[in-house]
């Protein structure tokens, strides 16, 4: 690198190299590429050919990809999601598969990185996967969506960002409500039904916290309510006394938390230490055992939670799911696994009713599927959202139960 060469000659070489490239670029390989003369190309082409044309006679396994974070900060969500999806597929395979074809489920790790997501989207397209069960990382889903739409691969995601619904590609579906629904239901319950108007907010500046903050604030504004305090903390913060002291001064009747399980638990714990006695409210993370354990059962008593899946004891279906989940993984089932389980079941049902369709036909079949799942009754609209309500629960004696 540091050796000195004749600069004139190396310049000439550089120019020659660039010219070679320029001339090379004239005969575009992209066009001839589709003609496929390598095995890799053949796979790519057959992948896109499959899209749209059903092959009912085939007995090959149906390939479905699960894409979520198996490593990095969100890997615990990714593990739950892939377990939920796998549980559904195992049940179908045990019952004989879809129209006699077994289902092959492969997990891909997006590492929570949108760029890696686009790589995986191209990969599953070229390897002949006909559908995808997607991640709760909305940014990764958003990055993958255009590629999957172009390759005509229907996919159902665990993400809940309203931006997903705004894309309106006909191939993207959501296996739960958007964050707008969570917070709209919550605001409706708190403001309209219970008449609480003196509300303080505390949220973090991460992706999830920011989304919750905006959605809940919008729901309040629509009701003419202005929060008495609106504190933003960071995701790495451990001491919240400054923000909580300001909230205490505002003397609210209820505090909304927009944050993940552990941080929310710490916030509640420190709030009680500062003598704040009013109840808290939030979305799904505030109904989880992690939240309850972090804060202490006594401290979270009365927390109001908006979630499409309050507990494993809500219905017969959820009891059955929780039992099967426990048997398969020796773990207690929770929301993310339930969402992925529902989404996978919807897709497999659509494959069955459409007799093994792929591509656009499969997407249409999914849209037409009415499914009574763990989260409620799914009926998809053209934005890909299938469920428009959440339930309101309250933590009583350390357990989340439906609000009366």
């Amino acid at each position: 690198m540091h050796s000195l060469r004749n600069p004139r000659r190396s310049a000439a070489v550089g120019v020659a190299a660039v010219l070679t490239l320029l001339f090379g670029a004239c005969s575009a390989p992209g066009a001839s590429e589709k003609a496929a003369d390598t095995p890799a190309d053949a796979a790519a082409v057959s992948g896109s050919d499959q899209a749209g044309s059903a092959s009912p006679g085939s007995t090959d396994p149906i390939k479905i990809a699960v894409v979520d974070a198996q490593s990095g900060q969100l890997s615990s969500l990714g593990a739950w999601e892939s377990k939920g999806a796998k549980l559904a597929v195992d049940e179908w395979n045990k019952a004989g598969g879809v129209n006699g074809r077994q289902i092959q489920l492969d997990v891909f790790d997006d590492q929570g990185d949108p760029t890696v997501g686009t790589n995986i989207a191209k990969k599953i397209a070229s390897e002949g996967y006909i559908a995808m069960i997607g991640t709760s990382e909305s940014a990764v889903t958003l990055a993958m969506a255009p590629v999957l739409a172009e390759e005509k691969i229907p996919n159902i995601t665990s993400g809940q960002s309203p931006a997903l619904a705004e894309l309106k590609t006909s191939f993207l579906f959501l296996n739960g409500p958007t964050s707008v629904t969570y917070d709209e239901s919550l605001a409706k319950h708190i403001v309209d039904e219970k008449g609480i108007k003196k509300i303080a907010m505390i949220s973090n500046n991460g992706g999830y916290g920011k989304g919750e903050h905006d959605a809940f604030l919008a729901a309040l504004s629509a009701r003419g309510v202005t929060p008495v305090a609106d504190q933003v903390v960071t995701m790495e913060q451990k001491d919240f006394s400054a923000a909580l002291t300001k909230i205490r001064e505002a003397n609210p009747d209820l505090i909304f938390i927009g944050s993940e399980e552990v941080e929310a638990g710490l916030i509640v714990k420190q709030a009680r230490d500062l003598g704040i006695t009013v109840p808290f409210a939030g979305a799904a993370p505030q109904g989880t055992p992690v939240y309850i354990d972090t804060a202490g059962a006594k401290n979270v008593e009365g927390t109001i939670v908006s979630s499409p899946y309050l507990s494993n004891e809500t219905s017969d279906a959820s009891k059955k799911f929780a039992e099967a989940y426990k048997a398969a993984y020796n773990e207690t089932a929770e929301l993310h696994g339930a969402k992925a389980y529902d989404g996978t079941n919807i897709f497999l049902t659509a494959m069955k009713t459409s007799n093994g369709a792929t591509g656009k036909a499969l997407a249409d079949a999914v849209r037409a599927t009415k499914y009574n799942g763990l989260l409620g009754d799914f009926a998809f609209d053209e934005s890909g959202v299938g469920i428009f309500a959440t339930s309101i629960g309250v933590i009583k004696d350390g357990k989340l139960v439906a609000a009366s």
Binding site: A16, A40, S75
Partner: protein, 612 residues
């Protein structure tokens, strides 16, 4: 040379036909890898070449990508207009991010830039303009001369051309005077300043360069993925980039590219076991730092030197010094002339409670050889540091060639004709002997940096001229055999001579030599005396700090004696050696001497390592 040409031609052909063998998925992976390669070149330039620890490179990447996204989707600009504005915008951000480098270096700079990178992600997550956590989708696909670049194959060729130009331009800078000054600054910022490199401006230039490459990568990313979200520019990816640069070899741009392409492809190959892969990256980075500090790029050199050790080359020989042409007597001047080249007036320097210099005054005539002697810790080197601009005196002033020199930065004094060597040798140790001398020859200014982009031929010509002058200088100092060698591989005496050659490269009017005979053997001291006399004969004034009394007494016209930071005597060697104070301070009885060193010894390391 022919070998390199063949390799380059093969690489070009391989890059040209590559897409024909790749699936849509594989070409996408390659496209992403090239984006990271361009990003890594910028990182290599700022960190490996200029030695500025910049952990905000991923933020530059983000600024470029987000600006393109915002300008195309919110403002509705065309892709190419947005691209140009984004690169310019990123360069402005780069200059702002670089400003802390003017005040701090090494890990402090790393922490500050890391903080800025975190701040960028936080901004992107929370700003409505940047779309918050869901980012910005719907960036239009660029078209070029009617070609729709949404085809990843066509985008590959477009990227390849941008990449080739970016790499060529980066390598051009590294090999030309600008890059040489940056490398000199990386190896030793103090010495670089003393030979005339504008250290502060060079640091800013390095950040500007890095940000332009970051912006370029960001624009390509936006055009390729057509969606931006905060996660892409996370700290995790910053460390991935750092791993690319360190594993590839940060001192080599080609190494950075190899590291970036290699790690990108490896990361994709290991996507199914990414948890373990991330652990492995960490381990490989740690092992690289410990066992192969120059990364993959350093391996060929290590193999070669291991091979060379087994088959020793014909021994390099230190040639004879070829004396300078003596200048005419009226230029040379001498002790009898009246014009002062250096006038030190009442200079004092205190380091908190410690008084290093106190009311030091003396004048040096043009064409003189002046000796400065004194016991250890008497303030001699501090005096040199004040004269050459490394220290600002606490009181008094220095007049150099009739103009006030107090408070002027070292590089300005170097340009005005002052040169110096250092007590503990400060050669640019990662550069060859020839390059050390070339940095000394280099009188180009940062304000002519535009020529690198707009008039590269002129830069080439200047560089060729410098090489010619450099070869002449190496021949004069008998260093031809050592020209390609690393300074640290040379005998100590030879290194001393290289430092004098480097100082003389700038054609100074005043040369400050700080203990040039320390560590030399008898023959080498004799040669040194010859060199110094010839330098003086060519019209250069020399001030020499030296403990070798034989050399000082035989060579200097006048001697200034320092003790405890004050001038205690001045005169001809004969006069000085008769002064009672000198005898007492220097040779005197044991009691005085002991008290002296106990009270006033300045640790030399402390003095030299303090930044100006």
């Amino acid at each position: 040379m022919r070998y390199r040409l063949v390799v380059l031609a093969l690489a070009a052909v391989a890059a040209w036909v590559l897409p024909y063998g790749l699936s849509l998925y594989a070409i996408h992976v390659v496209d992403v890898a090239i984006v990271f390669a361009i990003l890594a070149i910028g990182m290599g330039l700022v960190m490996g070449i200029a030695g500025q620890i910049n952990l905000a490179q991923v933020a530059f990447f983000g600024v470029g990508a987000y600006m393109t996204a915002v300008l195309t989707t919110h403002v509705g600009m065309g892709f190419w207009t947005a691209a140009v504005l984004s690169v310019i915008g990123t360069a402005v951000v780069g200059l702002l991010v670089g400003t802390p480098a003017l005040r701090m270096q090494s890990h402090y700079l790393g922490i500050v830039t890391l903080g800025l990178a975190v701040a960028f992600v936080s901004w992107a997550t929370n700003s409505p303009l940047a779309g918050g956590a869901s980012g910005i989708s719907g960036i239009p696909a660029p078209t070029l001369f009617g070609l729709d670049l949404s085809s990843e194959y066509l985008f590959y060729y477009f990227e390849l051309i941008v990449f080739a130009c970016a790499l060529a331009f980066g390598m051009f800078i590294v090999r030309m005077p600008l890059g040489r000054r940056m490398r000199a600054m990386r190896d030793d910022a103090l010495a670089a300043g003393a030979v005339g490199a504008e250290v502060r401006s060079l640091r800013m230039a390095a950040f500007a360069l890095a940000s332009v490459y970051g912006g370029l990568a960001g624009v390509l990313y936006a055009g390729l993925i057509r969606y931006v979200a905060p996660e892409t520019f996370s700290i995790a990816n910053m460390f991935l980039l750092l791993a690319m640069v360190i594993i590839g070899g940060r001192h080599s741009l080609v190494g950075c590219v190899v590291g970036a392409l290699g790690l990108s492809l490896l990361r994709e190959a290991l996507v199914d076991v990414s948890t373990y892969a991330q652990l492995a990256y960490g381990a490989v980075v740690a092992l690289t730092v410990v066992f192969a500090p120059n990364g993959l790029a350093g391996l060929p050199g290590r193999v070669r030197s291991a091979w060379g050790r087994r088959r020793p080359d014909k021994a390099a020989v230190l040639g004879d010094f070829q004396p300078y042409e003596p200048a005419s007597p009226d230029v040379v001047g001498g002790p009898d002339r009246d014009d002062w080249i250096l006038d030190v007036r009442g200079v004092g320097k205190r380091f908190r409670g410690l008084i290093a210099l106190q009311d030091v005054s003396f004048q040096v005539r043009a064409g003189e050889i002046r000796g400065i002697v004194g016991p250890n810790g008497s303030g001699k080197t501090t005096l040199f540091n004040v004269i050459s601009g490394l220290y600002k005196p606490s009181s008094g002033q220095v007049i150099f060639a009739g103009k006030p020199a107090t408070g002027r930065p070292p590089h300005q004094l170097a340009h005005a004709g002052m040169a110096r060597t250092f007590q503990n040798l400060r050669l640019f140790h990662l550069m060859s002997v020839r390059e050390n001398v070339l940095v000394g020859l280099d009188r180009s200014r940062i304000r002519s940096i535009w020529r690198y982009l707009l008039w590269p031929i002129g830069v080439f010509r200047d560089d060729r001229e410098m090489h010619r002058a450099g070869d002449e200088l190496l021949a004069r100092f008998g260093l031809v055999d050592f020209a390609p060698a690393a300074p640290r591989s040379l005998p100590y005496g030879t290194q001393r001579r290289v430092e004098i050659a480097r100082a003389m490269a700038g054609r100074p009017r005043l040369l400050l030599l700080d203990e040039p005979a320390a560590g030399l053997n008898g023959e080498e001291v004799r040669q040194l005396g010859e060199i110094v006399r010839s330098i003086r004969a060519s019209g250069v004034t020399v001030i020499i700090i030296e403990h070798n009394m034989g050399l000082v007494m035989s060579m200097c016209e006048r001697i200034t004696v320092l003790a405890s930071g004050s001038v205690i005597a001045e005169g001809t060697p004969a006069e000085v050696s008769r002064t009672p104070e000198v005898i007492e301070a220097y040779l005197g009885d044991a009691e005085v001497n002991d008290n002296f060193s106990a009270e006033d010894e300045l640790p030399p390391a402390t003095v030299l390592d303090a930044t100006p």
